[in-house]
Amino acid sequence: MNEGTGIRDYDWWLLTIIFAICGIGLLEIWSATHAGHLAGMHWKQMWWIALGLGLMMLLSRLDYHSVLDKAPILYLIGILALLAVLVMGHTRYGAKRWLPVMGEFLQVSEIAKLIIIVSLARFFAEVRTERLAIADLCKAAVLIAVPISLILLQPDLGTAMVLVPVVAVGAYLAGIQWKHAAAMVLAAALMVPIGWHHLKPYQKERVSTFLRPEEDPKGSGYQILQSKIAVGSGGFWGKGLGHGSQNQLGFVPVRYSDFILAALAEELGFAGVFVTLVLYTALLLRLIQNAQHAKDRAGMFLVMGVAAILGFHVLVNVAMVIGFMPVTGIPLPLMSYGGSAMLFVFLALGLVMNVRLRRFVN
């Protein structure tokens, strides 16, 4: 199984980009927390990164075909885990998202994301027609509707939304027909008013304050406004690491996690943001390149599933920081502080490495 997969076959470019992003993230976590009671957070984050790297290596040794082979079972396990969270999950910040595993609280939906990637890759790999039939499209929709519903019940709108691009990108690559795509978009648009009705009050507030942030600056519009102030006041070169007043005095909300890019933008300026966004772009393009060179469609779908989720995370988070999107609680992959998210990203990248390592192998 390991034949021909030497250390040189790892995607070193990808790893370099990952390390660079993690490095910037660590720096900013340190800057955002070093002065307060959260000091030392960057060390914890380093451990998560190390653990993630280990898991990535481990997963990359496994043939992805065997992973895909277990997809139905994995899917079932995932659904059960999501049900378990709803039944006996640990509530934090008003949502049941955490299951206690080995003394740490594991965000189950992060694992679920991974399982959805695998399941959808498996599903789309089986589609052999040039064009995606409506029946297959519906099957894919059902496949993803179940976990999305369960995650919405937690409630975790952000994570539920993250799953949509996986199926969207998958369907696109599987050859979705334009009329079907248009119909889906229309259906989604029609769902919005119904969905709005079922949103939690805080979610409605977030959306409405996104639309009119100046109305309630100390309420939930406050976060967007303070984030924009942090970003804007950074200027071109920034105020210097550890010298951003918005960051250091706590005006930027969760500055070490969801809004870490706002803290970075304030302290390292447009220059820092430019470098960071270029790195993320490079990361995503590199993932797509790996997909293009995958040995088979299954590998491609796997990599693109990862790329879809990471891309969505990055785009939505960055857009939120500058007020282009409402506050959704979607972290910035590889930079935001958080163990579950970090492990998910590295496991997902493990799948990518796996596909890459096997591109020349039969």
Binding site: A125, R297, A298, F324
Partner: protein, 658 residues
């Protein structure tokens, strides 16, 4: 491994490439967003960040104290806290208002009004929403720093005046600067500044007022101060030393309690005002915090008019006091011989109308001296007829009537010294010779203020050297107006005034002071003409105004005291004793009978009235004194309280209400 899902179809390379370009495009779009925030609008957001971070709290400069001529503190400050509302974030403020109103136990309306009033101010400038914070308010603010970060406490220096309206009209009061004053000041005053609104507080505001400082500190997102930026210290206002002799002021205030009138004591050699009191009074301390609309309205509409400074604003007929001007005019104009005398049968007819003397029995044969001593009306009717109104007006004007004395208290009135030209100008009517007869005894269309009468008598006794009355003690001599009066005239007039007090039959014989040459002239002036009186029927508020203007000693006088008691009926019984008390206190002090430092140093006359004495006692116990650099107010504990003038009890009220 079963790979039945293996799909050998070729990869959709085009679609993958499309996705790549989409990502690059979206990233570029986001970078554009950052560019807009960080480069295009950077200045605006930098300002917002700075406003988040920095809180500016003014440091209020204490006003200068007011000291009496010997350095005793009359008006000073005490530290207090005001509640500030930080309005950088109007929406937040609005949201928190109900909570704030509740916590500070003020009405929502009240706060909203104040916010409305400050609409024109820049938002970063905090406003005072509660001037006097209670311990409960302070606790409320401290415990809600995190959830109500818009409240802050401001240390202020609250003005402390003597209680009960003591010297209130002289000291005046302070208040928030009005928009008119801001405009006039040309940028020196800013909204919210506390400035003098009346009296010396207003007159010497520039001197008394300091320059506020500013403390800028860094606050974190929950409003806690985490660092200091810079501090501009406040420059305290400078104290002023007044010409007022606290001890004489005390006697004057004491004597007026329960009456309506004024006392003005002036040193005629310099124009220094030794005492100046007006009753009824008001408590300037009510203004020091923030006077409510109702309170202000009450004061303004009070029929007793407590806000009126009667010493400089009561324009009333001077009555017989005016006879001094008549006597001076008669002698100086030489229109009549010095030994001019008439027979007084108790009345006389002029221009077809009978004019009565105050003494229906008549004074018999009267010369000038006797006319002054007995205040004979008929004599002065004749003098008036001989002189004519324009000559009387010439002397009246030059001796100080009909124009401001120039005293350094705002709001002085001019009074009225009529003339033919005046009547022509104002009423477009001819002057009737009959009117001259009334004016000759200080009745009719003639009005003077107490300070004018003191100025007038002082000037005449000084041989025509009129020193501008003033309250600010200064090394520089006050402006002086000379209207030379011959020694013989001065001698005759002062001799007459000496007789008023010291000769048998003198109208103020009861106010004789053993060993002191107290001279003076009484006056009882009708508020309304006799005909008018008949029409309305005799009522209490139409009783004659009692005047007395005295001085001592007879030659080279050191003190002139003008006393007005409105509705006091008789100058001799109502006004003269007050002047006597003031002069006596002056001599007692001068002769060392009561060393100044042992005189009472309480800001409140002992025992009068009971309510404010009680307040004073409480104040004396609890009020902390001492402002650095300013002499402290000696309180009741440090010196034995002692009546000012043991031998002169307050005028019994009985004499006032027959």
């Amino acid at each position: 491994m079963s790979l039945w899902f293996q799909n050998e179809n070729r990869l959709p390379q085009t679609r993958l490439t499309v996705i790549s370009y989409s990502i690059v495009g979206l990233m570029a779009l986001l970078l554009l967003g950052f560019w807009k925030l960080q480069i295009v609008n950077s200045d605006r957001y930098s300002q917002l960040a700075e406003r988040n971070r920095v809180r500016s709290i003014p440091i209020i400069a204490p006003r200068g104290a007011m000291l009496d001529r010997y350095g005793r503190v009359i008006v000073d400050n005490y530290p207090s806290f005001s509640v500030l509302l930080l309005r950088d974030d109007p929406q937040q403020v609005e949201r928190l208002l109900p909570q704030i109103a509740d916590g500070l136990s003020v009405t929502l309306d009240d706060i909203e009004q104040q916010i409305d009033a400050a609409k024109a101010l820049p938002h970063f400038q905090p406003i005072v929403i509660k001037p006097e914070a209670t311990p409960g308010d302070i606790a409320f603010i401290e415990s809600h720093r995190a959830d109500i970060p818009v409240l802050e406490m401001l240390m202020v220096h609250r003005r402390r005046y003597p209680r009960g309206g003591f010297m209130a009209h002289v000291s005046g009061y302070v208040g928030e600067v009005s928009s008119d004053q801001i405009e006039e000041s040309g940028g020196r005053y800013r909204p919210g500044d506390i400035v003098g609104k009346a009296g010396l507080e207003r007159q010497y505001n520039e001197h008394l007022m300091g320059v506020d400082g500013m403390r800028r500190s860094v606050v974190n997102s929950i409003g806690r101060e985490v660092g200091r930026l810079e501090q501009t210290d406040a420059v305290p206002g400078k104290p002023i030393r007044l010409t007022i002799d606290y001890d004489l002021q005390l006697v004057a205030e004491e004597a007026l309690v329960g009456k309506k009138g004024a006392v003005v004591a002036i040193d005629p050699k310099s124009g220094e005002v030794l005492a100046m009191a007006s009753q009824p009074s008001y408590d300037p301390n009510d203004f020091a915090i923030r006077i409510s609309k109702d309170q202000w309205q009450d004061l303004n509409e009070d029929p007793e008019r407590p806000l009126l400074d009667r010493a400089i604003q009561a324009q009333l007929a001077p009555g017989s006091v005016f006879k001094i001007i008549m006597a001076t005019a008669m002698l100086e104009s030489k229109a009549l011989p010095a030994d001019y005398h008439v027979f007084c049968p108790g009345s006389a007819e002029f221009y077809g109308r009978v004019f009565h003397d105050w003494d229906k029995k008549g004074h018999g044969d009267v010369d000038l001296h006797k006319a002054i001593v007995h205040s004979c009306d008929v004599f002065f009717y004749n003098v008036g007829k001989q002189l004519g109104i324009d000559r009387i007006s010439f002397y009246g004007g030059n001796l100080g009537l009909g124009h401001k004395t120039g005293i350094d208290v705002p709001g002085e009135e001019t009074g009225l010294m009529p003339s033919e030209a005046w009547k022509e100008r104002v009423f477009h009517q001819k002057w009737y010779p009959g009117e001259t007869i009334s004016v000759a005894i200080g009745q009719g269309a003639i009005a003077a203020t107490p300070v004018q009468l003191a100025y007038m008598i002082g000037g005449i006794t000084m041989g025509g050297r009129f020193h501008q009355p003033h309250l600010l003690l200064s090394d520089k001599a006050a402006p002086e107006i000379d209207f030379p009066i011959s020694d013989s005239t001065v001698d005759t007039v002062t001799q007459g005034m000496y007789g008023v007090v010291n000769e048998p039959g003198g109208t103020a014989g009861a106010s004789k002071l053993p060993g002191i040459e107290l001279c003076g002239k009484t006056g009882s002036a009708q508020v309304i003409s006799e005909q008018g009186l008949k029409r309305v029927g005799k009522k209490a508020d139409l009783r004659d105004n009692a005047w007395f203007v005295g001085f001592a000693p007879r030659q080279n006088p050191e003190i002139v005291v003008a006393v007005l008691v409105q509705g006091g009926e008789h100058g001799a019984s109502a006004a003269a004793p007050i002047a006597k008390n003031v002069v006596k206190a002056y001599y007692d002090k001068k002769q060392g009978k009561i060393p100044p430092q042992q005189l009472t140093t309480q800001a409140v006359p002992p025992g009068i009235p009971p309510s404010f004495a009680a307040q004073a006692a409480r104040a004396g116990q609890s009020e902390p004194v001492a402002e650095e650099g300013v002499p402290t107010k000696p309180d009741a504990a440090s010196t034995k309280p002692q009546p000012v003038s043991t031998s002169t009890p307050a005028v019994p009220p009985a004499t006032l209400n027959p």
